[in-house]
């Protein structure tokens, strides 16, 4: 658990740093722009951020930090839920600005007292007087006490107000605020920043012309969330930095949730986190999921039980079966022998990862430029394909190789160069040979170029001849010769070389991109509980209710409940019977008929031991019916209806 928390932290830090980096250029632009604004109208920046509202928090936090560091200490963030009316908005704004001031300057108590007093009456004039006093203070104070040098030339730093979610603000509040602040723009230099989730059209829809003419809007676009996803996958999954890996199905689930549900990077990270937790919680051998340096120590500290666990792993069993019999016995009985073996296997696994990632990138370089992208455009698709099964057995791989054989030279050369770069960056010796080979290819290509130019010289000459001779017979002859030579021309050197390169890449792929499932001990680092993950992240409460009501046998393992087809046995729990009966009705249900049907079914079930007075039984059945009906009401299947006396309305339709 400790490791896992460490890992978790490491991962999160990595992510946050990455995210802030990816936002930074965007923020830089915004900040620069804020610097440049003059006070004619209210300057406003519209940041188009995309629909993944949940990720925006981080962006805004980064933005406000950057702003505070570089330009102005006065940044206020407003959220729609805090500002139902203009009064709340002003209050919030004042509070934040004054707190900001204290944060940055870390002034003493007197200011705090002032703040608390001020909270009572928050209006524009008081804001302006506060601003005046603050700016005066900063003006009068010595330069050393002022803000960093970058903002010293600012005689009056602007006050930045960030509207985090433009769409959810009420129109009136926003309009009022803009109109009010536009009247005070000379005394109070305001800058507005709108966070927009949809499209910039929304500004014009929310604000009438009279109001939007008061603004001087500049548009900024942020990175699309899909790019975020690719970078995150790049950083998290395709590195050897983290020992923990995702299985193919799990990755597919996470990507699907991202692409088809919410576009939220944060949710993706959450899912990833959950995978880690789940892996370290459920898999007893996950202790071994660590960096290369720790493996030896951990392997030697394992207990006998854990060795037994290793022996039980399916991938290990496959491995044992392939060994000769003497070694098999050793592996299955001798702990210390297994210890050495395990260490070796785990190290192999690590080496495999390193190689895998490099070759995957190389392959991606090739496939991503092919027309129609048979293996996918993004590296994540390629990764999934490689994890799923042997990639060279798929049709897509075949077709992409065929396409690759038709590449022209310049593309091929640049690709090879990229591959060399990727392979060079690896530290291991494994790829020295590959790099050399590729370099060799490159030099050959260069040679080819030189040769080609020579050849051109040669080929020019017949053409010259052509121009020279005007004799019809000769012309015909030469043309025929040319045609003949073109047809019978064997593959040029370049084409030969191209085949060679492609074949070599193919061989690399075959060697290194073996799916992880086939590696021994892959269970230690791969998490494969896709069903668990989907259940926890993307649950379907309605389906659960449906199966429980339709088919109680699924949950309650009792033989009496088993039945086939659409029918339901009369021994099912009351609520299931009532539910089944209600399915047969239309939009309205008559309670009396329903009750009678229910009691018929239940009586049939109880007939054998019917001895008590029927009145008593009747009452009990009535009571059970009432309970079941009110439970259905609680679950939202029916609601009382006023249309007709003693009727309920069905809220669902069809078979569920």
């Amino acid at each position: 658990q400790q490791i896992q928390e460490n890992l978790n932290k490491q991962l999160l830090e990595n992510l946050v740093s990455f995210l802030s980096r990816s936002h930074s250029d965007f923020q830089e632009k915004t900040t620069e722009w804020t610097c440049k604004m003059k006070f004619r109208e209210i300057p406003a920046a519209a940041l188009v951020l995309g629909v993944n509202v949940t990720d925006h928090d981080l962006t805004f936090r980064g933005l406000s930090d950057v702003l505070q560091d570089n330009i102005t200490p006065y940044v206020a963030m407003l959220e729609a839920k805090d500002c139902p009316g203009i009064k709340n908005l002003m209050q919030k704004l004042m509070g934040q600005l004054m707190n900001c001031e204290i944060d940055v300057d870390s002034l003493e108590d007197e200011d705090c007292v002032q703040v608390s007093q001020n909270r009572v009456r928050c209006s524009m004039p008081s804001l302006i007087s506060w601003y005046d006093s603050v700016t005066k203070k900063t003006d009068s104070e010595t330069p050393s006490k002022k803000r960093n040098s970058s903002s010293r030339h600012w005689q009056s730093p602007p006050v930045v107000v960030v509207f985090k979610d433009m769409e959810s603000f009420t129109t009136k509040v926003l309009q009022d605020f803009i109109v009010i602040s536009s009247q005070h723009i000379h005394e109070l230099p305001l800058v507005l920043i709108f966070g927009i989730a949809t499209s910039p059209m929304i500004i014009h829809r929310l604000l009438p012309h009279s109001v939007s003419s008061l603004l001087c809007i500049e548009l900024f676009q942020s990175l699309s969330c899909k790019e975020h996803l690719s970078t995150i996958i790049d950083k998290l999954l395709l590195t050897s930095q983290f020992p923990f890996k995702l299985g193919e199905k799990v990755l597919q689930v996470l990507i699907n949730i991202f692409l088809y549900h919410d576009f939220s990077v944060q949710n993706f990270i959450k899912g990833f986190q959950l995978c880690i937790v789940e892996h370290f919680y459920s898999q007893p051998l996950s202790v071994l999921c660590c960096h290369l340096v720790d493996i030896k120590k951990r392997v030697y500290s394992l207990s006998h039980d854990q060795y037994e666990n290793i022996r039980r792993l399916p991938s290990f069993r496959r491995y044992v079966e392939k060994q000769e019999s003497g070694k098999q016995i050793e592996l299955l009985t001798n702990d210390s022998f297994l210890k050495v073996e395990t260490k070796k296997l785990l190290e192999d696994l690590h080496v495999y990862h390193e190689n895998y990632v490099r070759i995957l990138r190389c392959l991606h370089v090739f496939t991503s430029s092919l027309p129609k992208y048979p293996l996918g455009k993004q590296i994540r698709e390629l990764h999934c394909a490689c994890l799923e099964n042997r990639v060279w057995e798929t049709e897509e791989y075949e077709s992409s190789l065929q396409l690759a054989r038709m590449l022209n030279k310049t593309d091929l050369v640049t690709m090879l160069q990229q591959c060399v770069e990727i392979l060079m960056s690896s530290s291991g010796k494994e790829f020295d040979r590959a790099v050399e080979k590729l370099k060799e290819f490159l030099t050959q290509f260069q040679n080819l170029e030189a040769e080609a130019s020579q050849e051109q010289d040669v080929s020019i000459s017949p053409q010259k001849e052509l121009q020279k001779k005007t004799d019809l017979y000769h012309l015909q002859k030469t043309l025929l010769e040319l045609k003949e030579s073109r047809r019978s021309k064997k593959l040029t050197k370049f084409e030969m070389l191209r085949f060679e390169v492609v074949d070599y890449i193919d061989s690399l792929v075959r060697r290194y991109l073996v799916p992880a499932d086939e590696r021994t001990l892959h269970e230690v680092v791969y998490f494969n509980g896709a069903a668990v993950l989907r259940g926890h992240l993307n649950a379907a409460p309605r389906t659960a209710l449906h199966t429980a009501l339709n088919n109680p046998h699924w949950y309650l393992k009792n033989q009496a409940l088993r039945c086939d087809g659409g029918g339901i046995s009369n021994k099912a729990p009351d609520i299931c019977i009532v539910y089944k009966l209600h399915l047969e009705c239309g939009r309205l249900i008559n309670l009396v008929d329903w009750l009678e049907a229910f009691s018929t079914v239940v009586m049939a079930a109880e007939e054998p031991n019917d001895a008590a007075s029927s009145d008593q039984v009747d009452d009990v059945i009535h009571a059970r019916f009432i309970r079941a009906v009110s439970e259905l009401e609680l679950l939202g299947f029916i609601k009382p209806s006023k249309q007709k006396t003693d009727h309920v309305a069905r809220l669902t339709w069809g078979g569920c």
Binding site: N8, L537, Y555, L591, V592, V620, H622
Partner: protein
């Protein structure tokens, strides 16, 4: 093929919807519960009857619950890692949560919210946090202020930890947008651990992306098949006597304590209402007509006495007055016709 099947299924679903809502005319029989000749059960008798009825499949349900209970330690781990847990599935999850509380949360500060309780509000949840957990006496202007205060305190003091268990997060009182927003923000605090249960089929509609990310849910299916005893005891079912509206017993009770003339006045009104019961646009008996009839029956002698009498009825909620479009006062008995018929029959027996 599977996909095609699914598509077809979807198409069927759509068709089924329109089929169900195609005609405004619904064919059902006209039988009503009154004609069933069975007394309505009161809450108490219902409870007693159900207590005696044996719970079916007790052993299997116990197995099921044990299966869920084995997850407790996992829940704790995940709560501490910043996730919140939501339970869904058929059956009451109250006992399960209660067990979770008694077995694991005994030593720590925890708050149990009974969402199914009809008078619960977010305000009261926040109040119990500020008053009992944070020992803060004082009032706040708005729940938002209160939330801010709580957030500040929890951020300052990292030793504070609070487990919040909410039964039926989707109940009538808590399903509003504002209360969900506040609860979501509360649950996003790292030292507040939330574990909640939902039952309604449309419960996930309460949450948009922003709230979902604040809640940071982990979904657990916990189908228990336990009867919703506590939860439905507040649900006003059609078949149970409503304590709010007038029932025959209370009607009789009040009228028995009145004078003969007063009973006569009420009888007159009831009879008149029953005669007109087939006329759906019947607005009630106008005061002038009623006065005339009462005078003729020698029940009152002046306008004033009738008015006094009617005031008394009104105080007992036996009648309701409504002003019509022409400004005339109309009198109505807000009791359904069958109860009224029963009442008149009983009266006849008494006399």
């Amino acid at each position: 093929i599977a996909k095609k099947n699914k598509e077809q299924k979807m198409g069927n679903l759509v068709e089924e919807y329109f089929e169900a809502h195609s005609s405004s005319k619904v064919l059902t029989s006209d039988r009503t519960l009154q004609k069933l000749r069975k007394r309505r059960l009161s809450q108490q008798t219902l409870h007693d009857l159900l207590k005696n009825a044996p719970l079916a499949y007790a052993a299997e349900i116990r197995d099921l619950n044990q299966q869920h209970e084995s997850l407790f330690s996992k829940w704790m781990l995940q709560l501490h890692l910043g996730f919140n847990i939501v339970l869904y599935g058929l059956g009451s999850k109250r006992d399960l949560l209660e067990k979770f509380r008694t077995s694991l949360l005994q030593d720590s500060v925890h708050l149990v919210v009974n969402g199914y309780f009809p008078s619960i509000t977010v305000r009261s949840i926040l109040n119990s946090i500020t008053e009992e957990v944070l020992d803060h006496i004082g009032t706040f202007r708005s729940p938002l202020d209160q939330l801010e205060f709580i957030t500040k305190r929890f951020k300052e003091d990292s030793s504070l930890e609070l487990y919040v268990l909410i039964h039926n997060l989707d109940s009538q009182m808590l399903r509003g947008e504002r209360s969900q927003q506040i609860l979501a923000q509360l649950s996003s605090l790292p030292s507040i651990y939330l574990i909640a249960s939902i039952d309604h089929i449309n419960a996930p509609l309460m949450w948009d992306h922003a709230k979902l990310s604040l809640y940071n849910w982990l979904w657990y299916e916990t189908t228990t098949f336990n009867p919703y005893v506590e939860e439905t005891s507040y649900e006003n079912s059609l078949l149970v006597q409503h304590s709010g509206s007038l029932a025959l017993s209370s009607l009789m009770h009040v009228l028995h304590s009145l004078t003969l003339n007063a009973r006569g006045i009420f009888r007159l009104l009831a009879q008149h209402q029953l005669e007109k019961k087939d006329n759906p646009s019947y607005p009630g008996l106008s005061f002038q007509d009623f006065y005339q009839q009462c005078r003729e029956a020698f029940l009152v002698n002046s306008d004033l006495t009738l008015r006094a009498q009617l005031t008394e009825f009104r105080d007992h909620k036996l009648i309701r007055t409504k002003r019509g479009a022409d400004g005339v006062e109309y009198l109505l008995i807000p009791v359904d016709d069958s109860t009224l018929t029963d009442f008149l029959e009983k009266e006849d027996e008494d006399v």
